[in-house]
């Protein structure tokens, strides 16, 4: 995954307080995948979604490498896509056979 360290300053909402806090936050997203080199990353998102569910079907939910797909698709995919595909999976309408 591609990650970047960012300095974030938290400012308190109270008007009379001068408290500030500076923390280092690491922001991460899915790394470059040579299978999807162009601007349209829809298939990149979709492939990670499918790979995650095939992974947990084959190896169980606690298998650590599956987490990578999970993080990738949550980073890449619009939430609308994720909820639409989750609904399709529940109703048995998802256009891919997720069994290994």
């Amino acid at each position: 995954m591609t990650s970047r360290q960012v300095l974030v300053t938290w400012i308190s909402n109270d008007d009379d307080s001068d408290d500030t806090e500076t923390k280092t936050v690491v922001l991460r997203t899915a790394g470059f995948d040579a299978r999807f080199p162009n601007q349209n990353q829809t298939k990149h998102c979709w492939q990670n979604y499918v790979d995650y569910f095939k992974c947990i079907k084959a190896r169980g939910e606690d298998f650590p490498p599956c987490k990578q797909f999970f993080r990738a698709y949550h980073s890449l995919c619009p939430n609308d896509y994720i909820s639409k595909w989750d609904t399709q999976r529940e109703e048995g309408n998802f256009p891919v056979n997720l069994n290994p």
């Binding site: 829809t42 298939k43 979709w46 492939q47 998802f94 256009p95 891919v96 056979n97």
Partner: protein, 227 residues
């Protein structure tokens, strides 16, 4: 002619939108269009064969018109092929990035469809035989070749109808159904139109309308058939 066509197109759209009695107008429009076509070309034949108006330049003009029309039909089919390749070569995530899409059982191309292909290719050969026989003055060979062509066409149409009846999917079954029925549907319609064109040619051949060097209508039918 334009009145009949206007009626046909307007009532077609009306029937899609569920306007009452649109079906009746659509039928009238189609009958009007077909009648106009029949009468128009009947006049063409009368002017050419019986009144002698089809001199060499006129023949060239008619041939050019037919060729340009066929070219426009080629572009029409090109657009349908474009739609297919665009859908099938890189299927979208909505289709599950797979072609054929999940749940579609495609027709195996190397059974009946292959027979149909062979029938049409053979009909192309037989119509060429008939044409060469006409040019050589062989009346019997020419008629026989054209009859064989039409028999092949009829068998093709029958088998295609059987396939349509027994297909495991419809035109509304996603991009696959649309591509399949658009391409085969318009193709089948053109086969039927071509068969009618060739049948008219057969009738004229039998009734001595055509000579061994003047048969623009027949050549047009052959060009349409082979395209």
């Amino acid at each position: 002619a334009s009145f009949a066509l206007l009626t046909t197109t307007f009532s077609g759209v009306m029937s899609f939108h569920g306007v009452a009695n649109a079906g009746l107008f659509l039928t009238l429009g189609v009958i009007g269009t077909l009648t106009t076509m029949g009468l128009w070309w009947r006049d063409c034949i009368a002017e050419g064969t019986f009144q002698g108006h089809h001199t060499k330049p006129v023949q060239r003009g008619l041939s050019l018109g037919i060729i340009l029309f066929i070219v426009s039909e080629i572009f029409f089919f090109l657009s349908i092929f474009w739609a297919f390749f665009d859908s099938a070569l890189a299927p979208t995530v909505e289709l599950g990035c797979a072609w054929p899409p999940a749940g579609i059982e495609p027709i195996y191309p190397f059974e009946l469809p292959l027979l149909n292909t062979i029938l049409l290719l053979s009909s192309g050969a037989s119509v060429t035989w008939s044409h060469h026989a006409l040019i050589a003055g062989d009346r019997k060979g020419s008629i026989l070749g054209l009859v064989v062509t039409l028999i092949f066409a009829l068998i093709f149409t029958g088998i295609q109808a059987y396939e349509y009846y027994n297909a495991g999917f419809t035109i509304s079954d996603g991009a696959f159904g649309t591509c399949f029925f658009f391409s085969t549907g318009f193709h089948g319609a053109h086969v039927i139109i071509g068969s009618i064109f060739l049948t008219v040619a057969l009738f004229r051949l039998i009734n001595y309308h055509l000579t061994n060097h003047h048969h623009v209508g027949y050549e047009g039918a052959i060009l349409y058939w082979q395209t």
